[in-house]
């Protein structure tokens, strides 16, 4: 009514919005700046704005994917006609990418960096930060550790550059490098970070990008940036809730009760008296449908121009394994401000997290696979073992060797933990008013995590009867990790227009210390009384420091030729004075070919850049437990105190002991030299963009725990710099805006990575016959299934080559005599390896009007898995143990093995798979009731899995499938409300 009344005294604008090829852009918005007048273009691109008072105005037309365009008009009483021809924006070239100690526009990047911002994050239930980008980036393999809530993932960037030292990347949160040290009381350290607070994750892959982090950068760097308050914004409140239902999809294939009875009767009737009449599916008994909820509320705005963001998150998730639960409460505050006409910027981030976990006894998983299916859940005697059926001997006492009742295990133990973590960082950036080209930047920050918990075994439980003389057990633990970081740098940047050059140089200094403290604790019985003889162990906090000057030089000529050089000098207290300094340089060049005249007129090609880099990075992360050298300082001749239980009696008294630990006075970090050659391209105005990288990494002086000549040192293995490894690979990724129209949009991304790691040498003497066994398996104490050996991939399976009979079944104990000496005893061979040689990710997103449909898929090829569940129980020998029966995997009906054949390559299976990680559908209601926006989302995670692998799930870290906590399918429903 108001506008109609106003019409008489005012003017109006009529016009059209089109794209560069003159096609209409329905849905484009046109508005008059500084007013509330606005409109949306119709199906033909036409719009009308009316009710405009006379005067001069600036009019803006906007459309997603196009550069917003302003036009100035003078309104009188007549109708003004206006046509906007919008240029599609090549947005991603101007995006700012966070790199070490700074940021850079994407077009100026010379290194290999994948930037993923929140709009591209994975949807659905995501509990830990790294899961936001699973399958999104080429060269980055993220494998969730299990289906346990908060279990986190294993992250491998380009396969990892180390062998026995850590292959985990360095993680930097808001400028603070955090330690990979585990936090007690929580399943995974990263699960203390709420993914909802993350704005972007940038992955630094090549040495040009990572070398500025020096001795910790060999395995790549993950830069996590959290959400910030925005300048000049009004208070906005955003609430989202996601509610989940998790269900297992599959059980490990074991004999059912009837099959089992039959097998016992035919194979070992002597044990028939141990058969019961029940039919129990133990796997069904230990799992449940599990609910979870994730709720976040955030407040963004500015108080008197001081931008802030405050968010509070609450996550509560049950595991599918009964009794398992993970809760997290998190708070995240960001305050930032520009003072002094933008010359002083301050950015403060504070994060606090409290997690509360109950860890379901995962021993129940293996027990459910192995427990006699012909026995009932309950014995009928509620006074014994809490009523659970357990295997007892003739005298009624527990058979200590038998498999425990899986439910008895779950409910007889109560292991809980809590973790408190605070991460704070303050960044100050000051541009000198008298010399605008010069800026000073300082970051100070800290990360403190206290994890503690209690492990409890019920006195009445069978576990207690077997291990604690029926008194149960109670133990506590407490660990504090703290680190403190300070770094600052000066940066000078200047354009020299006359010589078409841009030049910036930066020099800085960083200092960080890490402290890890495990509090010694006493052991108690379930009733709280002290276990006889329990005393406190030695109390040794670990503390190490790294100080590092660093610098970077960028030079750009004519916006075409780019050069970046970086340098870092790390001095780590973890190495001896003679080896303390490590120098980590890198250099990269890039050529923006598209800027050359000969390509400027090639329209379909919107961007083309060639990059090449070379650099040196290091790895110093041995953990603090290096076996016989249980300290942070593998170079020191340390005497390590033993616990009370490791003492000795002399005369009538006891002494504790001091052990002289193995050491290598000359140990230093391992060094990785990485070359990277890459091509970035954009086609059709940036609708198709992509990158292809080839890389070659050579790691030398591997920090290897390797056998040393007997008698030469103070243990048989020593952490020393021995050996070399080569990693080669290709990363390719492309993203495509396939359809872009008013009502319907379709974008998809695809990435494929090839990665091959090969050990060149692991021997002190260069002898290629040296093997280091890895990969422990069940079925016997101390058994291993993998080796590291020169010429092979890390952790290659080391097995006997199975011989098969004419019926295709494996012949028990018959293996190929590979060396032809008449016996296969010596003839284990390297067969396949656990890492995928090729892995891919595919994600797709459709929007139709207010609907959005998206999914992500992943595939791994060439990864092999040792089916330990099938191998370790896979023989009729399981029927012959004195006094108890072990259920058998269904595969035994094929193999008919009498005795276990743990080392047969029969159990090494192709684990290649295709998995749909997530499918989601959302409807955006837009503004409702004029005050709020509403979006509703439905998700399914772990939608399907296609694989030939016969176990539950081939996606296991290190290629050994040993009772993996199953990854459930998760259905979820989410609401997002904004005010």
């Amino acid at each position: 009514m108001m506008s109609v009344m106003a019409f008489a005294q005012t003017g109006s604008i009529k016009g059209k919005v089109v794209d560069e090829t003159n096609n209409p852009l329905p849905g484009a918005s046109v508005s008059i700046d500084g007013t509330t007048i606005g409109s949306v273009a119709d199906a033909n691109g036409n719009f009308t704005l009316s009710g405009i008072n006379a005067g001069n105005y600036s009019v803006t037309a906007k459309f997603i994917g196009y550069v917003a365009t302003k036009k100035t008009v003078t309104i009188g009483s007549s109708v003004v006609t206006l046509t906007f021809a919008l240029q599609s924006e090549n947005t991603n070239l101007n995006e700012v990418v966070v790199i070490g100690y700074g940021s850079v526009r994407k077009k100026d990047l010379t290194g290999s960096v994948v930037a993923i911002s929140s709009k591209d994050f994975n949807q659905g239930p995501v509990t830990t930060p790294e899961a936001l980008i699973t399958g999104k980036a080429s060269g980055v393999e993220i494998t969730s550790n299990s289906g346990m809530p908060g279990a986190g993932s294993t992250i491998r960037i380009r396969g990892g550059a180390s062998l026995t030292a850590s292959n985990d990347p360095l993680i930097v949160i808001d400028g603070i490098p955090i330690s990979n040290e585990s936090i007690s009381g929580v399943g995974n350290a990263l699960s203390t970070i709420n993914p909802n607070d993350i704005e972007s994750i940038d992955i630094l892959k090549d040495a040009s990008a990572t070398a500025i982090y020096g001795s910790r950068a060999s395995n790549g760097v993950l830069m996590i940036t959290t959400k910030k308050g925005k300048v000049d914004s009004k208070l906005a409140i955003n609430f989202n809730t996601l509610n989940t239902l998790a269900k297992n999809t599959k059980e490990f294939d074991v004999l059912n009760a009837d099959q089992f009875r039959n097998v016992v009767q035919t194979q070992y009737p002597t044990a028939a008296n141990e058969l019961g009449s029940a039919n129990t599916d133990w796997q069904k008994q230990i799992y449940r449908e599990a609910f979870g909820t994730d709720n976040n509320i955030s407040f963004t705005g500015g108080i008197k121009g001081l931008p802030y963001r405050l968010s509070v998150g609450y996550h509560n998730e049950d595991g599918v394994l009964k009794t398992d639960n993970f809760k997290r409460t998190s708070i995240d505050l960001n305050v930032n401000h520009d003072f002094l006409d933008h010359s002083l910027k301050i950015d403060l981030n504070l994060k606090g997290t409290y997690t509360d976990s109950r860890f379901g006894n995962s021993g129940a998983i293996g027990a459910a696979v192995a427990f006699n299916p012909t026995q009932p859940i309950y014995s009928g005697n509620a006074n014994k073992f809490n009523g659970y059926y357990e295997t007892v001997g003739n005298d009624g006492t527990l058979n200590g060797n038998a498999v425990r009742n899986p439910l008895g295990l779950l409910y007889g133990t109560d292991n809980t933990g809590t973790a408190k973590r605070g991460i704070g960082s303050l960044n100050v950036n000051y541009v000198f008013p008298f010399l605008k080209e010069l800026q000073f930047n300082a970051t100070v920050g800290g990360d403190i995590a206290d994890g503690q918990g209690t492990n409890f075994t019920d006195a009445a439980s069978a576990v207690s009867a077997a291990n604690n003389a029926g008194k149960g057990s109670l133990s506590h633990y407490f660990k504090e990790n703290s680190s403190y970081n300070t770094d600052y740098y000066l940066k000078y940047a200047k354009d020299f227009k006359n010589i078409k050059s841009h030049f910036d140089i930066q020099a800085g200094y960083s200092f960080q210390f890490f402290k890890i403290y495990n509090r010694p604790e006493l052991s108690y019985y379930a009733d709280g009384s002290l276990v006889t003889g329990s005393t406190l162990g030695p109390n040794i906090p670990g503390l190490y420091k790294i100080e590092s000057p660093f610098g970077r030089l960028n030079y750009i000529y004519d916006d075409k030729y780019l050069l970046t050089a970086t340098f870092r000098d790390d001095r780590s207290s973890r190495f001896g004075p003679d080896n303390r300094n490590g120098y980590f340089p890198s250099v990269a060049v890039a050529w923006r070919v598209k800027q050359e005249d000969f390509l400027k007129s090639v329209d379909f090609l919107s961007d083309l850049k060639l990059r090449a880099s070379y650099g040196v990075t290091g790895q110093q992360d041995l953990g603090n437990n290096t076996g016989a050298n249980n300290s942070f300082f593998p170079y020191l001749a340390i005497y390590e105190p033993g616990n009370t239980g490791a003492g000795y009696q002399f005369g009538n008294g006891y002494t504790t002991t001091l052990r002289s630990d193995a050491y290598d006075a000359g140990i230093k970090w391992e060094t990785t030299k990485t070359s990277d050659l890459a091509l970035d391209f954009g086609l059709l105005n940036g609708r198709i963009t992509g990158t292809i990288d080839y890389y070659y990494k050579k790691t030398s002086d591997l920090l290897l725990q390797t056998p040393v000549p007997a008698g030469s040192n103070l243990s048989n293995y020593l952490y020393a710099n021995i050996g070399d490894m080569v990693t080669k690979g290709v990363d390719f990724n492309v993203s495509v805006v396939a359809v872009s129209s008013k009502d319907f949009n379709w974008t998809f991304g695809y990435n494929i990575s090839y990665n091959k790691r090969s050990i060149s040498n692991i021997s002190l003497t260069g002898d290629p016959a040296t093997i280091i066994t890895t990969g422990g398996i069940p079925g016997g104490v101390g058994n291993t299934i993998q080796v590291d050996k020169a010429g092979g991939a890390p952790n290659a399976f080391y097995v006997f080559q199975q011989v098969y009979g004419t019926n295709g079944a494996p012949l028990e104990g018959v293996y190929v005599d590979r060396d032809g000496n008449g016996s296969s005893l010596n003839d284990k061979y390297q067969y396949k390896q656990p890492n995928p040689t090729v892995f891919m990710g595919f994600n797709s997103n459709f929007t139709y009007k207010k609907w959005n449909l998206g999914f992500t898929m992943r595939a791994n090829l060439g990864n092999y898995v040792y089916n330990a569940e099938a191998a370790s129980n896979g023989a009729y020998q399981g029927l012959k143990f004195a006094g108890y029966l072990v259920n058998l995997p269904a595969s035994v009906l094929k193999t008919n093995f009498q005795n276990y054949q743990l080392f047969s390559d029969y159990y090494v299976e192709n684990g290649s798979f295709l998995r749909m990680d997530n499918a989601n559908l959302s409807y955006n209601f837009g503004k409702i009731a004029k005050v709020a926006t509403l979006r509703v989302t439905a998700n399914v995670s772990n939608v399907f899995l296609v694989t030939k692998y016969t176990g539950l799930d081939p996606e296991v870290n290190n290629g050994i499938d040993n009772n993996l906590y199953p990854r459930p399918r998760i259905y979820s429903l989410g609401l997002n409300v904004g005010f």
Partner: protein, 531 residues
């Protein structure tokens, strides 16, 4: 505004300076760590360091139980010195067979082991671990070092005694080394800790070294039975007697006379006497026995591990045996013996000869299936209960109190007798017979009904008698080799050579292979023939 600008600028600069001052020139030296450089300046540390030289035989690491292991590349409890010594000396013989599926463990009894066998490797690594620890202690306790570190007076006397004990322990491990592996790498305190390639010395050279070391250590060692746990003079003499008894195997030269000399020294020195009741030697309170000359200790609270005696006791129980009767919480169902061993006893019931400690209920004498615990008689010799019937000190029943008698007096009596029979000088046949009958009278619980006469005292009798007396005490492999019965087809027991009723095996198996890890790592080493 301008003033504020300046204030802010000033504060930034001050902050920058503070940061700079606070972070430059960091001390990067670790603090508070106990290292070689400072540990020996405080005499209070000497006994704990010496203690480690002993626990390296008994347990597997610094945590007690499991955790923080001494050696790598193999399960910790598994690789324990005593456990592997037992496996080498017993599992390879008629005395023991094991049911488990742990790696290549069956290859030991089947006599099909090779240089990759992880148990043979673990034994080797444990031996050299012990030798390295001994060398480290000896390097830092020379007269010069003791003087430099200000160790004087009674502390100096004690330090010298500890030093002599370390030399004994190193000699003991070198004996194990040459007995099992023949020509072996040789390192002493003269070598520094690092990564280098020790030279290989012949069995005979190392034999001489052991001999000279023990004789040199004698003066500083304590008197017999001066303090339980410590190696004393009698321990050194017993080791020498063992060394000389097997000298022909090691060097080609018979040293039976020397064996007699040192056996006599033990017997004449007094202090050690036969335990009146055989079974008491193997109970939780056997540390009170006067017979055990050198124990490897075990304690439910103070000396905990999954190897050693914990293994020997738990693994011996299974089938219808009650763990509670052995003072432990569980049966590991592993070890049994062969029918050939049972046949050493004319009366295996245990009613007459109390050393026949078999469990037969539910067990078959015959071992048709190696992988079935109830095939073969089980052994009830070691128990974690004391003479009064009380369980050991670990309230959970995991770790046992029973000590392992590495050397005891009955062994010395039998060495004396055997050396006399082998033509050694300095002893007499009459004394030999007396000694053997002392052992047998005790075996028959004080009755002389089992005593033998002079004509019955023959070398084959001695071998059988040692089998009966010293079952599971780590002597069998060495004894069978000395008598030429370990390899070849002279004496067959079930599953020898991997055949149900036993088959001949090559003589090269009198030596274990040097593990391939060390052959690869140390170019100075030459593999034993046949491997």
């Amino acid at each position: 505004m301008r003033v504020r600008h300046l204030q802010s600028l000033a504060s930034v600069i001050v902050m920058a300076l503070l940061v700079t001052v606070s972070s430059c020139k960091k001390n990067l030296m670790p603090e508070g760590e106990l290292t070689t450089a400072n540990v020996y300046t405080d005499f209070n540390n000497y006994l704990p360091v010496l203690g480690k030289l002993y626990t390296a035989y008994a347990i597997s690491g610094q945590a007690g139980g499991a955790g923080n292991p001494d050696i790598q590349g193999i399960d910790e409890g598994f690789s324990n010195y005593l456990r592997e010594y037992f496996n080498m000396q017993e599992l390879t013989t008629d005395e023991a067979i094991i049911q488990w599926n742990d790696g290549t463990v069956h290859n030991l009894h089947d006599m099909t082991w090779n240089q990759l066998n992880e148990f043979i490797t673990a034994m080797y690594n444990r031996i050299y671990y012990e030798i390295s620890l001994d060398n480290e202690f000896l390097r830092n306790t020379t007269d010069a070092m003791l003087s430099k570190n200000g160790i004087t007076g009674s502390n100096l006397t004690l330090a010298k005694q500890y030093r002599a004990e370390a030399r004994f322990l190193r000699a003991l491990s070198y004996w194990h080394a040459i007995d099992l592996y023949g020509n072996v790498p040789f390192v002493t305190e003269a070598d520094q800790v690092g990564v280098f390639f020790p030279k290989q010395k012949s069995r005979a050279e190392v034999f001489s070294y052991i001999e000279s070391e023990l004789k040199a250590a004698d003066a500083d060692l304590g008197a017999p039975r001066f303090s339980y746990g410590h190696a004393d003079k009698a321990a050194a003499y017993t080791l020498l007697a063992n060394l000389y008894l097997n000298a022909k195997v090691y060097t080609g030269t018979d040293h039976s006379s020397d064996a007699i000399t040192y056996a006599k020294k033990v017997i004449d020195a007094g202090g050690y006497t036969l335990e009146p009741h055989f079974k008491n030697l193997f109970l939780a309170d056997n540390n009170k026995s006067n017979e055990i000359i050198f124990p490897i200790e075990s304690d439910g609270i103070h000396t905990q591990g999954y190897g050693g005696m914990t293994y020997i006791i738990h693994a011996s129980i299974g089938g219808n045996m009650s763990p509670a009767a052995f003072g432990v919480n569980s049966a590991w169902g592993g070890l049994r013996t062969t029918k050939q061993y049972v046949a050493l006893f004319s009366d295996p019931s245990g009613n007459t000869d109390k050393r026949a400690m078999f469990f037969t209920d539910g067990q078959t004498l015959d071992i048709a299936d190696e992988y079935n615990f109830q095939n073969g008689y089980a052994i009830t010799k070691f128990k974690n209960i004391d003479q009064a019937g009380n369980k050991g000190s670990d309230p959970n029943g995991n770790f046992v109190d029973t000590d392992f008698p590495m050397f005891r007096l009955a062994d010395v009596y039998l060495i004396y007798a055997e050396a006399v029979l082998r033509g050694g000088q300095g002893g007499s046949a009459g004394t030999a017979l007396d000694y053997v009958n002392l052992v047998r009278t005790r075996a028959y619980d004080g009755s002389t009904s089992g005593n033998i006469n002079a004509s019955q005292l023959t070398l084959p009798f001695i071998l059988d008698e040692r089998g009966r007396e010293l079952l599971f005490e780590g002597h069998r492999r060495t004894d069978l080799i000395r008598f030429g019965k370990f390899t070849g087809g002279d004496y067959l027991w079930q599953w020898k050579g991997g055949a149900l009723n036993g088959t001949s095996v090559g003589d090269f198996r009198n030596l274990m292979p040097i593990p391939s890890t060390d052959i690869i790592n140390n170019p100075n080493l030459k593999q034993n023939q046949g491997y």
